[in-house]
Amino acid sequence: MSAPSLTPEIVLRTSPHLHSKRSVGVIMRNVVYAMLPVCAYAVYNFGISVLALLVVSTLSCVLTEHMFCRAAGRPSSIKDSSVIITGILLGLTLPPGFPLWMTAVGGFVAVGLGKMLFGGLGFNVFNPALVGRAFLQAAFPTAITTYTPAQATGRFLEFIPTSLTLPFMQPPVITDWVAKVRIDAFSGATPLTALKFDKVTTEIMPLFWGNVAGSAGETSVILILLGGVYLVARNFMDWRITASMLLSAMAMSGAFYLSNPTAFPNPLFMLFSGGLMLGAVFMATDMVASPVTPLGVWIYGAVMGVMTILIRLLGGLPEGVMYAILLANAVSPAIDNLTQPRVYGTKKKAEAKA
């Protein structure tokens, strides 16, 4: 018996020679799996319009990334699956009856402007889905605030009339349609709109289960949390950001509530309503746009939680999650710089200089 020559077959490379199985593709695909129950419930709650909405937004995002890669002459990066997350998230944050052609434009802007122009995965400063949504909010202010009732009759058979608006056309007014399909107790107003403009606070349990009006995927707190628990259990998500955002939002709205319980809603309502839960679990934790330092992630979450409540209670808009997250995205690099961990065996910079 003789040892093999090991030439020319020998593999030479540098240590470490082992690698964990957790790769970008695995992480991204698991985030997609975690969002599927939320998507399923959104379709159940609002009907086939949401199904079309999610398909269009995802396809638009994927195609945009593919085209940008082709135009740049490099291999398509869609197989890392991160763009699918952007597509689904964009769809989940839009009103159920949002015109499909506008959704397609939103997907193009989200990925094109929010991601590819920065250099693709890893280089985007802002969460691409929210860039797309912010664009849509500025471009189509009426359509993006037109909400339809949850659990409308016939929602699996017919589209919400606004969904099928022809390209470059304004959507029709649907007040009459809403009056026709709504079941008692389900109004088209989202809980936050009802609060802002009518001073009506919705019960907690419907918010928790999700049978209320709102953006397609933001209504079911329980399913969003389940997705989050799955991701945290499999170590695909930074729970600290979510915890920090929710705790700070709770503390902030609690402070308002205690100062004047009649003028301000209770903290639990604030926590369960609107896009806070969806944002805290699936968008705030976007790895690319969040800090990496242990202290930084807590600060980052707190910035988003506090800003959300400030915009909701003191600003002109009923909902503040989107701008809160975008703002925190913008300051994330600064947070990172200011919270560099103390390296083992060294003193803090301030101490070292003193």
Partner: protein
């Protein structure tokens, strides 16, 4: 004491759980490997100045006879691993890839191979200085892989006080089981070596740290330590890279070795268990280090095991003995997290080789994956045992901002444990980036020095 050690017991908070792969060899007793037809003894098997050969070509030597002397304090002598004839003193391949001077020795098949050198010495009545000198004469260096001359660690620098001798039995690298077997089979030698070190250093306490995946080692050491009230054997939860001395000091004592400093700065001297076992065995007889236990492991070996191999055994011969198959695609010296892959089987086993891993193509390809941009997931920041920021340093390395990595992000503290590369979901070769950055910085400084001297 760190806050966490109060709540969570003594454990390494950072680092990674790597698959251990130790079951292949952990229960295999130490066996002797036959002598090869030719031994190659490099003159530089340790950190510090290479030894100086004191034999001629053609000279006959006896097993255990000194064949090279130390060159200065940070240097150790070499001893003949077998009775035989010095063939030549010439260049031989080394793990670093370059050729280095070595003594070629042909063992005599008919010799008794009795170790005739050395005489008993009474350690009890030796002064610390005499012990340090005697340890240097054994040629023992750190057998955990660093190969730093052991006697240097036993000489406490002026103005420092070392009160604790720490015995490192973590062996946190996957596959390796040499320290494990030494602890199981030679616990008395390990503790004897530790007591010698304690006497030389003037310490008052011995702490043995062993990872809890080696319960039989812990049990045997505790039995052996029962007679000594100043020896504590601590079991710590397995976590890579706990065996790095700075990590183990922090886990067991909560003391933090300053950046750029040594364990003696915090009153500790750390020794590997196999090193101490050799000292405990060799010093009373005043003999030299001529063999060591090496783990041969990996899926491409038919006869893996823990072999007591003569120093200077060429790898090609050693792999034949361990039943290397044609599936072998890569050979790694040491553990898979930090060990270098080697390019030549004509290099010999040296004092610092803890193990030889022979991996198949499939094993090596488990690390394959497209290198994607950093997605700033922060996994590397969470695992870095030194609390460095590998993510940021990796981005700086891409832009070749090597100087900034050193001045602002403590590049030089990185000891290349590999945790960041191991967890990176984008498969960024972070450790390799850092190695290159360190080298570039060294070269830049050398250029600057040359310029200022000119």
């Amino acid at each position: 004491m760190s806050l966490l050690s109060i709540f969570g017991g003594k454990r390494l908070q950072r680092g990674v759980h790597v698959p251990e792969f130790k079951e292949q060899t952990s229960q295999l007793p130490i066996r002797r490997m036959p002598f090869p037809p030719t031994m190659i003894i490099p003159l530089s098997q340790h950190a510090g100045a290479p030894a100086v050969a004191i034999v001629r070509e053609g000279q006959e030597v006896v097993r255990g006879e000194p064949i090279a002397k130390s060159n200065g304090f940070v240097s150790v002598p070499m001893h003949a691993p077998a009775t035989g004839r010095i063939e030549r003193i010439a260049l031989a391949p080394s793990a670093r890839g370059e050729l280095a001077p070595a003594i070629y020795l042909t063992p005599w098949p008919s010799a008794s191979q009795e170790i005739l050198y050395g005489a008993p010495q009474d350690i009890e009545h030796m002064t610390p200085e005499e012990i340090v000198k005697a340890v240097q004469e054994t040629g023992v260096v750190g057998l955990g892989g660093a190969a730093f001359p052991t006697h240097v660690k036993m000489k406490v620098p002026e103005g420092k006080k070392v009160d604790i001798v720490m015995v490192n039995g973590c062996e946190c690298e996957p596959y390796l089981t040499t320290d494990h077997r030494v602890m199981v089979e030679q616990p008395d030698e390990v503790l004897h070596g530790a007591r010698i070190a304690m006497k030389a250093i003037g310490a008052s306490k011995i702490i043995v740290g062993v990872e809890d995946n080696k319960p039989d080692a812990i049990e045997n050491l505790r039995k052996a330590a029962a007679a000594y009230p100043y020896i504590a054997v601590e079991s710590v939860p397995a976590q890579y890279p706990q065996g790095a001395e700075k990590m183990l000091i922090h886990v067991l004592l909560g003391r933090e070795v300053p950046s750029g400093g040594l364990p003696s700065d915090v009153g500790v001297a750390v020794f590997n268990v196999a090193t101490l076992a050799q000292i405990g065995d060799l010093l009373p007889r005043h003999q030299g280090l001529i063999e060591r236990v090496v783990t041969f492991a990996g899926p491409a070996l038919k006869k893996p095991g823990n072999y007591l191999a003569a120093l200077g055994t060429p790898l090609r011969f050693a792999l034949e003995q361990a039943g290397c198959t044609d599936e072998a695609a890569g050979v790694i010296l040491g553990g898979p997290m930090m060990g270098p892959a080697i390019s030549s089987l004509d290099m010999p086993l040296t004092k610092g080789v803890t193990g030889v891993l022979v991996l198949t193509r499939k094993d090596l390809e488990s690390r394959n994956g497209d290198i994607l941009p950093c997605i700033r997931c922060g996994a590397c920041v969470d695992v870095c045992p030194l609390h460095l920021n590998p993510s940021r340093m990796g981005m700086l390395a891409r832009k070749e901002r090597y100087e900034e990595m050193e001045t602002d992000f403590h590049l030089m503290d990185c000891f290349e444990c590999g945790c960041c590369s191991y967890v990176c979901p984008s498969h960024i070769p972070l450790v390799q980036h850092f190695r290159i950055a360190k080298q570039m910085n060294r070269e830049r400084k050398a250029r600057e020095r040359a310029k200022s001297n000119a």
